[in-house]
Symmetry: D2
Amino acid sequence: MKALVKRNFEPGVSLMEVEKPTPSKNEALIKVSYSSICGTDLHIYKSDVWARSRIKPPLITGHEMGGIVVETGSEVTQVKVGDRVAVETHIVDWSCTLCRQGKAHLCSSTRILGIDCNGSFAEFVSIPETNLIVNSPIVPDEFLPLEEPLGNAVHAASITQVSGKNVLIVGGGPLGLLLLLVLKGYGASQVIVSELNDYRLTLAKNLGADLVIKPDELNLLNIAKEATRGEGVDVSFDMSGHPLGINDALKALKPGGHMVFFGLPTSDISLNITDDIIFKGITLHGVIGRQMFTTWYEVLSLLENKKIDLSPLITHRFPLSEIDKAMEVMSQGRSGKIILNPEL
Amino acid sequence: MKALVKRNFEPGVSLMEVEKPTPSKNEALIKVSYSSICGTDLHIYKSDVWARSRIKPPLITGHEMGGIVVETGSEVTQVKVGDRVAVETHIVDWSCTLCRQGKAHLCSSTRILGIDCNGSFAEFVSIPETNLIVNSPIVPDEFLPLEEPLGNAVHAASITQVSGKNVLIVGGGPLGLLLLLVLKGYGASQVIVSELNDYRLTLAKNLGADLVIKPDELNLLNIAKEATRGEGVDVSFDMSGHPLGINDALKALKPGGHMVFFGLPTSDISLNITDDIIFKGITLHGVIGRQMFTTWYEVLSLLENKKIDLSPLITHRFPLSEIDKAMEVMSQGRSGKIILNPEL
Amino acid sequence: MKALVKRNFEPGVSLMEVEKPTPSKNEALIKVSYSSICGTDLHIYKSDVWARSRIKPPLITGHEMGGIVVETGSEVTQVKVGDRVAVETHIVDWSCTLCRQGKAHLCSSTRILGIDCNGSFAEFVSIPETNLIVNSPIVPDEFLPLEEPLGNAVHAASITQVSGKNVLIVGGGPLGLLLLLVLKGYGASQVIVSELNDYRLTLAKNLGADLVIKPDELNLLNIAKEATRGEGVDVSFDMSGHPLGINDALKALKPGGHMVFFGLPTSDISLNITDDIIFKGITLHGVIGRQMFTTWYEVLSLLENKKIDLSPLITHRFPLSEIDKAMEVMSQGRSGKIILNPEL
Amino acid sequence: MKALVKRNFEPGVSLMEVEKPTPSKNEALIKVSYSSICGTDLHIYKSDVWARSRIKPPLITGHEMGGIVVETGSEVTQVKVGDRVAVETHIVDWSCTLCRQGKAHLCSSTRILGIDCNGSFAEFVSIPETNLIVNSPIVPDEFLPLEEPLGNAVHAASITQVSGKNVLIVGGGPLGLLLLLVLKGYGASQVIVSELNDYRLTLAKNLGADLVIKPDELNLLNIAKEATRGEGVDVSFDMSGHPLGINDALKALKPGGHMVFFGLPTSDISLNITDDIIFKGITLHGVIGRQMFTTWYEVLSLLENKKIDLSPLITHRFPLSEIDKAMEVMSQGRSGKIILNPEL
């Protein structure tokens, strides 16, 4: 089959013919319909410091995906050939104390599709049946790969009440924009998006942001205060991982507010804990992955009932063979979500 | 000034000239712009069993209201003449252990406007300043009286997560319909409304209910299960107070679900606690009033940012002098919210 | 091996020689050290209405147990021969939407040890490895069978805050007394126990109840109010399933309080929802089983660190052969927990 | 009357005769029975950087106190002459949006007794009646001043579940030790205390710490892991404000754990947000003051029912005139709580 393989730590990936995988007894073989590109895929593509320390080439990369079950292992009972599925990308051990407490998304043995084992930028991929999420026909094919990052956003948005609240998103990349869609759908009173990149700011505005701020031209804190009778926002989400962004997100909060850490800083971050956290009685949440599988049921429910429309967020579509062009667009921040089609 | 006075326990109320009230030192005098009619007002109008046991005529009835501050008591500091205000109708003591724990809505000394003291079906009414909610010019005058019952709905909707969930409302009266607007605004995946009255069912459909059920023709439980892959709803709200409605709302829940009791039963209700509550691990919430004043800030935020449009729910407008006509329409269940105008 | 078998619906059980079970690939064979007797075992012993509708003889009864792993199925990886284990008695499917959301204790396919399949009143029993809880040597052998009902009590006590609160337990049977131990350990300010049986009242007092009430002689509500400055208790637990007990537990609550339904009523219960639930803003929780396996880790932690001493609750010990005597004592309510030893 | 006055920013305070205060209409005059010394008092005594930026001499310092109502203002209704009271030291405006949402402890207009207005190191002090907490005769006089910092500890301990959990306290000063007493009382499975000072470590051990660690001799993280089967603690409390202490507290957590920030850092703190917060799904809570007045009712309930014994924590008693000796002992960390008696 065709697959995009990270063969070594030179930049880029190679479109190659590789052997089609065979599902083990608890796995199903999935014919990939679409993948979408995650920031992680770009890190691997570029062979950055993180990628060099984490992955072991050769590796088929990619993890946001949808497809059709075409073969099932001998002990598979929960899916059948023909099922249309999205995929939870964290493969966990189900036996550690965290998994046994309903915190599988924090399992310390987690292996991630396309990072720790072969992924979805290919024609086929074999996946444990417990990780497969059967979708109703109502959900369009192109939405399936987006369910995984949408789950991140739903998980983040569910960690504290956002309905009827003023919220700030720092960082309008694809995940920040997915979060924007979720927060609008959940009835946040105002969603303010802070982002440097003009393309993304425009996209945020088009997706319904109540206020967009470009923090290099304007003072984020003043604007956030002004939009909230001088009080500050109820909830802020850092999707940037940037030191200034994180501190802005924290300082923009009103006393008693909640902050979500989502974007991954690449180095230690310095915080004014006394003034910005203790005196204001702030609660902070580190958010990773999706709740397995509470979040997924919510994602399915939102999409099946058309409460969230992902279409305007899908800005580009490429065949696997044009991965270099796709990564170039993504690298420049001139995209929402990019879909990869293995068949083209 | 003109006022609708409940003079004794004969049915009805009388439009009379009465003395204009004088604000005490912590009160403000409000010129009423609009009132809306609550089910409680109808109970008092009819002098039913509850009304006879609770109110002490003569009494100016009415409590859902908006107006303008025209005079302030000597120690009033938080509002000023000209402020446009809605009113929290629970007048509490602020000194009992419940008030001192942020549970003023449960204060055991609560006095309610238009029930325990003179109310808003009049040209003027005097109100403690702590109960006044100053509104921004963005919110239309006619919405102000509806903020109080909207607060009930927001309080009920905030008691457990509804975003991304399947919910059932049993009882599509004005409060059930306000709740419908809130649940839609908060991103519930599906809102199912069960109601006997055709007028209200049509209104529910127009206001965005995903599914409406007339339980005398159809089997509520089967329909609710069918709409939820056989699982049952995540959250159900009883707004009816009816024995069958309450039991339906409970049985329609999936295991682990939440139920809100809002409608007031007039007699004891028999429940299958073993099968419907314990074996299913259900959580039930008795909900009364609004959180003072957390709920109000959320109401203001939703209306100022136009996240909820109350217009389609306002179906009738009458002058005070046509109270009999208004009560007749309401009695028949052929209305959404009815607005009373003291000036007409 | 020896086992107590419910052969048919005549009252009682028979001590018989039966075939030793063989573990399937995901099971381990456990040599039972001790079992303890649950109220359910008494229902089955007596062949009451519930038992006749639920079990299918012949059946080895019993489910509260501890023992040693003596053989493991071919795919067992989490326990090994020699491990000393307690047992989660709910055997669930791990694949339904409830199990996949961390609510396995609400799985609709649950099979219960000693009710739906052969149980622990025997020399050996075969158990799925996921249901085995390996214990540290610090925990005494006799405590192992009590971990399962202790888990019920911990689950009930964890559903709302009890530390620093005034709480009421209605029903001082073995589970009510385990709950008493947990509530005392968790720093409840006052634990009030209401119970008719003198033996149990004395045991409750000895186990540390701050106040014991015999509701046929005294007025429970007056006493509960008096003990709480007239306010009522913060949390009440009904462990009785009795109509009067449930209503007392509800009425004894202060506004904003929480009630836990644990005892199983045998018929519908009539409640004053308006006055006792809605006007008081009460939250009610149906509690069943234990959280799998969050509760178990807490149980282990409490016992390993000697925060709860179960010794004074173990009042009787019998060999399997004296089951009739054990059931007689239990039937009269003249016991705490009764231990059965298969070896004697 | 006699009072300890901070006259200017020279180190120390002066015992002086000053005018006895007169209560305003909403205040009561309190004859101080005992005060206790807070770390803040030491900062003011020493005139450190923070003190110089915050207080405005001349000022009577001190805020942890108990006493007797000896005179009441004209509008006081909730206390009467002879009442024995403890004091909430945050004087708030009750009218800002935070106060009106039950978050008075976060009121941005807060004035603190003995910092922003005259305090309790005196024979008399005048206090708003809403800040007075009437105590039952069961609670000893010397415990009254300790209720305020005990409230801090109760507030911190109530922010997430600690019963049945493994917890770490970093910093065994007086507040850390009060927290230790609360956590033990609430049934934490293990309380580990990390502290450099030998006197405090011994006191922690005597007060019931399950494990005490001196982090300069031993590796805190290894010990915390070892005490928790390699998993890490469920909850950690930083009471030190120290950069190393905060990072230790964070790194000692298991995935999904909770951390409380209580000790005030004097400069920005650098955190590894990616590894220590996001990947582990940690929740962090900034905690300040006490919930007004939910925490106080819990404090009263714990003390009246003798669930927490403060006696072993009171290590020194001095008259006002020996303030220099008292501050010297405290400065060296050779004390638990120190009581000041205005009468000696």
